[in-house]
């Protein structure tokens, strides 16, 4: 088969902006300087000024910019285009209303160091969102300062560390083991490391749940600071023993941190605070629909028990009668994790999401998310190897076992999905499933789309038998084919340079 992908069509071959640059071209205009000019040397001596005339920075017109970004944007898949079944990522619809309200001038133009009395609306909004998240998680202490999930994780484990240091004093240093299941996100051990903990890995059972015997053995070895657990876990199963797990950890003197990546399976149905969890981070960009933005910005609030609340980052937003204020006097706090108060723009969007749904709507969304995953699981279980029999929650995992015998692997199946008009699922995660394909449809997909996705997956499975090369060579419909990532890493080119100059290579 011969399929020509890159043609001479200009919209398909948009160069780097640097290649569009024309000396003297401009795309901006500022008002004329209206103050009397000071001799530049009086402001800044020449030796402190740039002498490269910003060479290499592009010179383009406004329409150049518009065409450039519009063209390259068409090379992206997006939620608005269709189903985006990335497991663990919760790619749900991003309401335009949320975008609109985040741009209200009274929010967008508010300086973070404005006097508190003149920023009451912003403080009230943060406070209200904190209250809602406390109700949703069953954990009363909430900080919205962390900028992302991994940042909220770091904050969470630091709270545990601060709590233990206070409770145990010098003896706290004998308690430095953080237990992390083998199915965990990579950020978990990385965050634990930042708080000075050593990681011990807990095995999962053949059923895909935390191995209670192994957990008990590890707790018996002592030194337990805590556990970092995702629930539902990363194979999409609810940890049925969650209360016993929390009890084990608490009896061993540790605390339980829950990774809230999968909260979309629980909102309105069950609350981590009621399981015995001590601290959790949420991803507003997953569960509460703030846009993923091609990889950020996020917002990773940290919610905790009243016992841990004094350790939350400063400043805290507190209500004082009818007024809201910033409380900087928090002697036990772990400190600041970010300048100012966090990603406020994301908080506006998340609160709008919560208000649009209301309590009932939030529960309905959870039900739909779980039902959709269950439906996909039900229809693909004959076609693909499903390593765990139990009922999945909001996401379902398969492996490539049936297809790999024919030389077709998870990566190939994922790439072939692109040809069918879908974004691939999460692949090769969690690590405990060989050739994992983790599918999370979210509530934002209707039955017709789910059926189309299921048909595509079945069709690919047939192709894997009949025309495996078609799958192995996928995708066939995109502008470019599979890229040689190994060479890219061996000889990294990480920036544009003018012709003639060597491109940057790593040491």
């Amino acid at each position: 088969m011969s399929i020509t992908k890159v043609t001479s069509h200009p919209t398909q071959n948009e160069e780097l902006i640097f290649d569009r640059s024309q000396t003297g071209r401009v795309g901006y205009r500022l008002p004329k300087l209206d103050v009397e000019e000071t001799n530049l040397d009086e402001i800044l001596p020449a030796e402190l000024r740039r002498d490269d005339d910003l060479e290499g920075v592009p010179e383009v017109s406004e329409v150049d910019v518009i065409r450039h970004f519009t063209r390259i944007s068409t090379w992206n898949y997006s939620i608005d285009l269709g189903m985006y079944p990335l497991g663990s990522c919760t790619m749900k619809y991003n309401s335009r209303l949320n975008e609109k309200v985040a741009r209200i001038a009274g929010f967008a133009n508010l300086h973070p160091l404005a006097p508190e009395s003149e920023a009451q609306g912003a403080l009230e909004l943060i406070y209200n969102l904190q209250e809602d998240l406390a109700e949703i998680t069953g954990l009363p202490g909430v900080s919205l300062q962390p900028a992302a999930g991994a940042h909220g994780e770091m904050t969470g484990v630091m709270l545990i560390r601060a709590f233990l240091d206070k409770r145990d004093g010098v003896k706290s240093k004998e308690r430095r083991v953080m237990l992390v299941p083998d199915s965990a996100h990579g950020t978990n051990p990385a965050s634990a490391h930042l708080a000075g903990f050593t990681v011990k890995t807990i095995r999962s059972t053949a059923e895909g749940l935390t191995d209670m015997e192994h957990l008990k053995t590890l707790c018996g070895e002592g030194g337990i600071a805590g556990l970092m657990l995702t629930n539902p876990n990363t194979v999409g199963l609810f940890e049925t023993n969650i209360q016993q797990i929390c009890d084990e950890i608490h009896n061993a003197g540790g605390l339980v941190y829950m990774d809230g990546a999968n909260m979309n399976a629980l909102v309105g149905v069950a609350r981590p605070g009621d399981f015995g969890v001590d601290v959790i981070h949420l991803n507003l960009h997953k569960t509460f629909s703030t846009p993923h933005g091609g990889g950020g910005p996020g917002c990773g609030p940290c919610c905790c028990t009243a016992e841990l609340e004094p350790f939350l980052p400063t400043p805290r937003i507190v209500k004082n009668g009818e007024n809201y204020k910033l409380d900087f006097h928090r002697p036990e706090s772990i400190g600041r994790v970010k300048a100012f108060f966090g990603n406020f723009g994301m908080m506006v969007r998340a609160l709008a999401y919560i208000q649009t749904h209301g309590a009932e709507g939030l529960r309905e969304a959870t039900e739909a998310a779980v039902l959709n995953a269950r439906y996909v699981g039900h229809h693909l279980t004959e076609t693909y190897d499903k390593p765990y029999e139990s009922d999945s929650m909001h996401e379902v995992v398969f492996s490539h076992k049936k297809q790999s015998r024919k030389g077709v692997h998870t990566l190939d199946i994922a790439k072939r999905l692109i040809d069918y008009g879908f974004h691939p699922m999460t692949i090769y995660f969690p690590l405990i499933v060989e050739g994992a394909m983790l599918i999370e449809p979210t509530e934002s997909v209707g039955r017709a789309d789910l059926d189309a996705f299921i048909d595509a997956m079945k069709s690919i499975a047939e192709e894997a038998i009949e025309t495996p090369d078609l799958v192995i060579g996928a995708p066939h419909t995109t502008r470019i084919g599979r890229l040689d990532e190994a060479t890219a890493a061996r000889k990294p080119v990480l920036r544009w340079k003018p012709e003639g100059e060597a491109t940057a290579k790593s040491a």
Partner: protein
């Protein structure tokens, strides 16, 4: 659909959750609101943010600048803002290409060899730079100028509190407002890095070349922090002064103030340190037919592969805000970045000159400045600023007492291209009427 999967009710979907930990009641959250109602709620809250409607001379790490219309228009294309992080390069070339352009522009402006795909903001980027310097040098002490943004220092302290990193502070010279030369004897052979901000928190431009030499003399790195990215258009780049790592807050590049976030951190370094860098990197790659594309690369530094041994726990970057900054830099372009920087310097110079003429007011620091400067008032700055806001609807700056207890009469004034001569003159008039 419930029937298809063998269930009779939605409740049965949750059979695996033990009954006694199920909520079994409705959340105590509002009834669902219609669009009109949500807008009503939000408008009412926004209305209470009185400060957003006043003439303002606030800076100190977050700046009011003009953002060309195309910036917000383009970032609202759903192909950009409803896309995920670019793990599947065949369907995310748009994102990967702008990250590559962002990295290039960050290198050009900072004068460095390599830059990553962005960090959460300037403050967390600086904290990550501390950890990186510790990895690179295998030394456990960082010497930081007192004139680095106090909230940045606070964040770095949080990040490093469990990592055996000692942080020592260098005082500033009370005359010049710059890092105190004599205090640099705190640099020694245990020092991983010297950290300075330029323009510093008081708006003073530091002599980076001199500081680089001092750091390098003891085998330490120089980390330069920039909170006002517009200054890149006029000031000598940190790279040209031999800095090793540069971190910057990119909010000035077309990103709204939005009460402190989301912003975007720039992170750049010398080429030889690239494998110790935190965060995402996009690089060039080719497909089998030789077509050029972009991928995320050098991922062996990252948490999803290295887990607890990763260079950082950061998972993604600040995608959409990095896009806004990229569009801003490209729309303003070479000449626009220069002109806007020049206008900032000129407006601030004019404002400083006029304020210094008011009886009782002075400028305590002699070092060259960019668009911010400290004013010393004849009485409590806090009182003056409160009065100014109440009586004249002008937010005249930031009282330094928020961060520095020793300077109750000092306040920080920032003037940008958005402050007209009329606004500056009104500020001067109002200050001169203070009793």
């Amino acid at each position: 659909m419930l029937k298809v999967v063998g269930l009779n009710s939605a409740n049965e979907l949750f059979r695996s959750i033990p009954q006694d930990v199920q909520l079994n009641r409705t959340l105590k959250i509002t009834e669902p609101l219609a669009e009109i109602e949500v807008i009503g709620v939000m408008d009412k809250l926004a209305e209470k943010n009185i400060a957003s409607r006043k003439t303002s001379f606030l800076g100190a790490g977050a700046y009011s600048h003009y953002s060309p219309t195309v910036v917000d228009h383009l970032i609202q294309r759903s192909e950009f803002f409803t896309s995920y992080t670019p793990y599947q390069p065949e369907v995310t070339q748009g994102t990967l290409q702008y990250i590559f352009e962002f990295q290039t522009l960050a290198c050009q402006l900072t004068g460095m060899d390599v830059a990553n795909a962005s960090m959460y903001d300037g403050s967390t980027a600086m904290a990550e730079a501390f950890l990186m310097a510790q990895r690179v040098t295998r030394r456990d002490k960082v010497v930081i100028a007192e004139t680095v943004h106090p909230e940045y220092l606070a964040v770095a302290k949080t990040y490093t509190q469990h990592g055996d990193l000692e942080i020592e502070t260098v005082h500033f010279d009370k005359e010049s407002g710059r890092t105190l030369d004599a205090d640099l004897n705190k640099l020694d052979d245990k020092t991983a890095a010297l950290v300075v901000q330029s323009p510093n928190f008081f708006g003073c431009v530091e002599d980076l070349k001199l500081l680089a030499d001092k750091a390098h003399a003891v085998g330490a790195l120089l980390i330069v922090v920039v909170t006002e990215a517009i200054s890149f258009g006029l000031l000598k780049s940190p790279g040209a002064c031999d800095a090793d790592i540069v971190v910057a807050e990119g909010q000035s590049f077309g990103v709204p103030l939005s009460y402190g976030g989301p912003y975007v951190g720039l992170f750049a370094c010398k080429e030889k340190y690239v494998r110790n860098m935190p965060g995402r990197l996009a690089g060039i790659a080719y497909d089998q037919k030789g077509n050029r594309g972009f991928v995320l690369t050098l991922a062996t530094r990252e948490q999803h592969i290295r887990r607890e041994k990763a260079t950082s726990n950061i998972c993604t970057n600040q995608g959409l805000i990095a896009l806004a900054a990229t569009i801003y830099m490209e729309t303003m372009g070479r000449r626009g970045l220069q002109e806007v920087a020049m206008q900032n310097a000129q407006k601030a110079a004019y404002a400083a000159k006029r304020i210094a003429e008011i009886e009782g007011f002075s400028l305590p620091f002699s070092a060259p400045k960019f668009n911010e400067f400290v004013v010393r008032a004849p009485k409590s700055a806090e009182e003056i600023l409160t009065e100014l806001s109440k009586e004249k609807n002008i937010i005249g700056g930031l009282a330094l007492s928020r961060y520095y207890a020793d300077n109750p009469n000092d306040f920080l004034v920032c003037a940008t291209e958005l402050n007209s001569k009329e606004q500056i003159d009104n500020l001067v008039q109002a200050l001169s009427e203070i009793k």
